[in-house]
Symmetry: C2
Subunit: 166 residues, 2 copies
């Protein structure tokens, strides 16, 4: 039984524009997906909701509609760019089906809801590169998802480049 | 490249006497290890340190040396029992090398130190079954390790038996 790689797994990978995210995807491709062509890989990108921009100034009037439209276009551009990069990373996978989803909303909610809704077998996330202060305000996305998602969660950290091979 | 399952992975699995732990091991065997016979699976069991018993009464005098010796024997018995159960679960794996390690100490420290020292490619843990109150005092072992271990960490939760198939 154990030497037959016939199990079909549905794996959700949360991707964003960070280096940690693309590292997590590459690690998953090399370590989890090799040798199994029955998997479905779902790349999920969450676009921050407009509310995040509006609350930046507190008044809600700082940004004109033009600027907001520009930001929306920028977000879509980033989403497209991230997805293309992620799909290129998946090209080496033989037989694995790759699907992409772009959702608007807070990353934590988007990821938890998608994992639930799509009945995935595993969620893979990079451990993002927020600094200490930013993390204190935003909370850790990977931490939140690890605690709230019901399926197994794989958190991949990008090793610090300290000259060691591992 | 992607269809050759030749990569040798060293996977550390933290096991204990909980149902969540044996579920995590079984899930890992079925979903991560199938089809790859080049892996080394390291089963790690951490025996709580004697200090945990001594602090139960606060005075340190409640337990006689006889009782402490009995507790030590009980701990060893549990460790042996868990390891045997875990090894039986691994019997279906063709070619995968299975190693066992029993260490004394706080599970959080033991797991983090072992992952670091053994240079493992991935740490797998069950999400334990502590209740809300116990977790508040003890902290979540899986949470702690996910934040402190440098390698990728896979946290497997045992699904609640609510009649659903997934």
């Amino acid at each position: 039984m154990a030497d037959v790689a016939a199990k079909e797994r549905k794996i959700l990978i949360a991707v964003d524009e960070s280096e940690e995210s693309i590292y997590a995807l590459s690690w998953c491709i090399e370590n989890i997906l090799t040798g199994n062509s029955n998997d479905t890989l779902i790349l999920l990108y969450s676009v921050p909701p407009r509310a995040v921009y509006s609350t930046l100034d507190g008044s809600g009037y700082l940004f004109s509609s033009d600027i907001l439209a520009t930001m929306e276009r920028y977000s879509s551009g980033v989403a497209q760019c991230v997805m293309e990069k992620a799909k290129r990373a998946c090209e080496a996978l033989n037989g694995v089906k790759v699907e992409t989803i772009v959702e608007h909303g807070d990353a934590r909610d988007v990821i938890c809801q998608a994992a639930e809704k799509l009945h995935v077998d595993m969620l893979v996330m990079g451990s993002h590169g927020y600094g200490v202060i930013k993390r204190a305000f935003l909370g850790s996305v990977s931490n939140h998802c690890a605690q709230n998602v019901k399926c197994p969660v794989l958190i991949v950290k990008k090793p610090k480049t300290d000259g060691r091979s591992k």
